[in-house]
Symmetry: C2
Subunit: 353 residues, 2 copies
């Protein structure tokens, strides 16, 4: 079966009752589960497609930080971005929107990329060099920027799954980007809440939250050169952490290298504390950032409101508790640890000095 | 530590960025995980609080279907409802709402009950008698009705977690009800979508969906005496199933015993098919039904719209695939099996005759 044929089967459907979006990608079922983890006699992982020296096991790289003189799709890299071999979405060049009665679907637009965070199989992000973490963040920024050139893509969701219980099917440290031709429902909900707040108060919601957090200090883990990590007031999970820039910045792609260097420090600091305080938990993290204005077709005034109302942030969700019927049905969460206690424990844990 | 003291610690918090609600219940962390599963020499489960004969291990029963002459909190029951010993929420009689800047919280209102579905440790709902399943459904109906007498409770979420990967901490078959003093976010989203559709078309959204499903037949699993089971158009998970009454009924508590007898048949039919076709998967199910009008303080005209726009339904989500960072961040889902194929497989599987 040829790749082009595979891609054409994916479609994005909207649930008429809840307005949530679902990617129906039947060929994703064929992707390997928990492969590439068998160690050879020499200590290497011969079946891992992400280890250095196995570059031919992935599609051609789109982006990389490499040693001078090294060649694309060869060894010598620190961080490497490739298309996902089992993509949830791909672009065919032709977006096809259709509706049959109440049932809406969209085909043909999207992208799914993998950021390989290290050439080494077991070097998790918490243990990586600061420069390497900075490169991972640069990969996110550069790839979002590049995908936003396509006016058919409205949002790029950056996310990471650490360990199997958090949904990682490959052990080798990596994160992912999925670009979609519509605004995801969670991003839309946040955007509406932020715009409503801005219209009422002419201030950014996140800027105000950060002001309240800094005034109370109860839930702050650390501040570092213009960035802050804290346990959000309505944390869904024990040890949930949010990282944000203190200064209003609506779009992650505006972050220059020097800021990403500082962010890398604070991210590593949080991951180290989580590893020590919560026994190296499985976790997901994901970025909430600006939608692609080119695709939004907003009026200039609406754009100005969006830029003033949104404030990018990174959420880290440790996944040690199950999500069950109550959460699925209601959208409520039950958290058995107060964020105030989680923040205190993480503050008292040794971080990065 | 006294129970009253424990309860006072729970609070419901609203996330200012996404408007989701979180129950912070620090004492839930003390609840047992995976207990009551060790079998004694006689084949019984001496530590299971839900087995017949162990009635003293639970708080006093609120509701039961029992043999004539049997006594409350003694043996001789078929289905039994008790307060959850480790409640996520309890009512103190005094609802306390407070707001500090952007941070809203509510304390003192709610309920958390357990429906013990069988006196026998291993009799799962798929294997239970039809009459017993009917009693379980009657328990849901009667308990929602009773909790809706309290004008401080806006919604009762009925849900079931089957097996550990779906969040069941006790093996003995049971389901749960959690009553909350606000409308859960997912219910609010559905309610808004239904009202918007009704205002535009003067028809019920679910009635129209069922009309489309019946016209195409592609995703229908079975129709049975006024009820239907189908794989929803935008299924989040492989083998996801929705059950609904064909005739417009906004509120589950309006279902008379004879209708619940038919519903029990169709529910058992679906659970049997899932068990055979998908290797007895872990699953969650949950009911979407009417909010408590007494608590909503709507005007009569709004009430009429709500009654015309809402249509109760039961969603069954098999939980064989992980929910990862993409889903958490975006609210999107990736389903690797088309609902059309899932429905075909379930249709071709032997159900209840």
């Amino acid at each position: 079966m040829k790749k082009e044929h595979l891609s054409s089967k994916e479609e994005i459907r909207r649930d008429p009752l809840s307005h949530r979006w679902v990617i129906v990608a039947p060929d994703r079922a064929q992707r390997p589960q928990e492969t590439g983890q068998d160690q050879g006699a020499d200590g290497s992982y011969p079946d891992c497609p992400f280890c250095e020296g196995h570059e031919q096991a992935t599609p051609s790289e789109i982006w990389a930080r490499r040693a001078a003189g090294s060649r694309p799709d060869g060894p010598g890299w620190t961080v490497r971005v490739v298309p996902n071999r089992y993509p949830a979405l791909t672009s065919s060049g032709q977006v096809h929107r259709s509706q049959s009665g109440l049932f809406k679907k969209i085909q043909g637009a999207g992208a799914h990329e993998v950021v390989i965070e290290s050439p080494h199989h077991h070097e998790s992000l918490a243990d990586a060099d600061l420069l390497q973490i900075q490169y991972v963040l640069e990969a996110y920024r550069d790839r979002i920027r590049s995908l936003y050139q396509d006016a058919g893509l409205r949002y790029v969701q950056v996310f990471k799954n650490h360990k199997l219980p958090a949904g990682a099917s490959l052990q080798h440290p990596h994160s992912q980007l999925i670009a979609t031709p519509m605004l995801p429902q969670n991003i839309e909900l946040k955007l509406k809440a932020a715009l409503r707040h801005f219209e009422r108060t002419h201030t950014c919601l996140m800027c105000e939250i950060l002001g309240q957090e800094r005034a109370s200090q109860q839930r702050i883990i650390r501040e570092h050169r213009g960035f802050i990590s804290f346990a959000p007031f309505a944390s869904r999970f024990p040890f949930e952490v949010t990282i944000a820039p203190l200064r209003h910045t609506w779009d992650f792609i505006e972050m220059p290298d020097e800021k990403l260097e500082i962010l890398a420090f604070l991210l590593k600091d949080v991951l180290l504390r989580l590893k020590l305080a919560a026994a190296d938990p499985p976790y997901n993290y994901f970025l909430s950032t600006a939608p692609n204005l080119r695709a939004m077709r907003s009026k200039p005034k609406q754009e100005d409101s969006l830029k003033a109302a949104l404030h990018w942030h990174l959420e880290i969700l440790p996944r040690q508790t199950a999500v069950a019927g109550f959460e699925w049905g209601s959208g409520f969460y039950i958290n058995s640890r107060t964020p105030e206690e989680a923040a205190r424990i993480l503050r008292e844990t040794q971080g990065l000095s």
